[in-house]
Amino acid sequence: MAMIEARGLVKRYGELTAVDGLSFAVEEGETFGLLGPNGAGKTTTMRMLAGLCPISAGTLHVAGLDVAREARAVRRFLGVVTQADGLDTELTVRGNLEVFADLSGLSRAAARARADEVLAFLDLADKADESVDALSGGMKRRLAIARALVPSPRVIVLDEPSTGLDPESRVRVWEELASLKRSGVTLLLSTHYMDEAELLCDRIAVMHSGRILDVGTPAELVARHGGGRVTDLRPSGARRETIREALSAAGVPFREMGAVFRVSADGATLPALEGVTVSERAPNLEDVFLKVAGRGLSEA
């Protein structure tokens, strides 16, 4: 049985359809990513899972329970880390965890013990009695994750877990998510970071305009949509205008990305150009994403 299963999931806000017939299944112990640009419907999908957003049509099940009809039962084993962290600034770090434990139905003794465990796991023990406002951005995110872990959920939903964090904090969050994965927890996360998706996810659903365009392992997605080689042309003397004209004349589609001209083709097939540094590489998830973010996979 799939741990999370969406069938024909739809969310409408008046005229706008934010999620448009989503179907996917996440197996137990799997880490599943929703990858897509802003407005793709990732957050709405996660909010529907968390019971924060009424479903317009379709069905959503967690461990066989219908999210729309058994919201409270679902939340007993579903941990949620929202984008906003939603920390309680009126309480201490430990207070945040113990109150959430209380809300989750744990006894006082169990709440204390569990708070100690998650504080140790997320390396926040020395901050236990601090005010939330005293924490750095990275620590706040880890506290939000710690809070979601308090009731020992079997499934954890994370909306953009590392957005807004500095590189070191991101790596820490990833390490902690990886160790959760090792312990058998099912993870569903949304992201628009390729490195995050590639590193953490067993499978990824590429989303655009409320739809899933394709689902697969990172390697499968790259193989299907990345195209052949990717070549970057960096002007080292040549005028940009010259390169632009030469590529257009040769009928080679290109994309100007900051300093470089990016071409989805083998460097050897390109017109010879003076004063240009050519670097060639295999396509990666980012190439897939850029195509999706720009146009949608079908036309890419």
Binding site: A50, L103, G105
Partner: protein, 266 residues
């Protein structure tokens, strides 16, 4: 339809009191963390109002309503008015900050529902009303303006104040688009009621056109009830007033729950 289903489908038929109590404990913990400042809200502010009215205005007006000292007349009014400010502040202003900081969203990711959040806020609004009533009454009892025996009655009334104004506060918190607009709950609700619900003068002295309006205000029956307990003049009228308070809660509570549901689950 099982119990969980009833809840999720939004009928609000099932309330898990364990969640309401947990929310209440959270609010108490947050208040106790700022107890040093909170003491001024509960003791200093109402103390000033009470002393100013009883000693200042009291010295000018002499007796009211046939032989009652102004201090004995105004004290229960200030008790109830202060309780109202506490309840409405907690359920609207503090609650709005919790919405704004996505804290309600966090509560909802636990096995907690919107009606339970609203009830937790109202329960705590009533608690604040109770604490305030205890502290203001202690003052008044000390000065001999309220008899000690009236205290249980006043505490009962302040639970009513907490319920009515907890509901009103939650309704405003759910409907206000911003903190800015939320301040209207004080301008349009709390302040007019504080002054026109018979706390400082009998409603009967108002012009004929205004008197029925003042009588219909939600705070007026609560002030009358408190005064009846304080002066020992409880009669059949008070039963009707109590009924009016219960009816207000019966109407306002579902409205507050519906509005909050619309606000949070989108």
């Amino acid at each position: 339809m099982n119990a969980e289903t009833a809840m999720a489908s939004g009928t609000g038929a099932l309330i898990r009191w364990r969640s309401v109590a947990a929310l209440w404990r959270r609010h108490l913990q947050a208040l106790l963390r700022v107890w040093k400042v909170a003491i001024t809200w509960f003791v200093v502010e109402p103390g000033i109002a009470l002393l100013a009215c009883a000693l200042g205005i009291g010295g000018l007006v002499g007796d009211v309503d046939g032989g009652i000292s102004y201090a004995a007349f105004v004290a229960p009014g200030i008790v109830v008015g202060t309780a109202m400010f506490h309840a409405i502040f907690e359920a609207s202003w503090s609650a709005f900050e919790r919405i704004d900081r996505s804290l309600y969203e966090t509560f909802l990711t636990a096995p907690v529902t919107v009606p339970e959040i609203v009830l937790g806020e109202i329960a705590f609004a009533s608690t604040r009303a109770l604490i305030s009533t205890l502290s203001v009454s202690a003052f008044a009892v000390g000065f001999g303006w309220i008899p000690l025996g009236a205290l249980p009655g006043l505490l009962l009334v302040s639970v009513g104040v907490g319920a009515v104004f907890g509901c009103i506060g939650q309704l405003f918190a759910a409907l206000a688009p911003s903190m800015h607009t939320l301040s209207l709950v004080f301008t349009l609700v709390a302040t007019p009621m504080y002054f026109f619900s018979g706390s400082f003068f009998p409603v009967s002295v108002l012009p004929d056109a205004l008197e029925p309006v003042a009588r219909a205000l939600p705070l007026t029956p609560l002030v009358d009830l408190a005064r009846a307990f304080s002066l020992g003049t409880v009669s059949g009228t008070q039963a009707l007033q109590a009924l009016y308070v219960v009816a207000l809660v019966a109407v306002l509570l579902p409205l507050a729950m519906m509005a909050m549901r619309r606000r949070l689950l989108r």
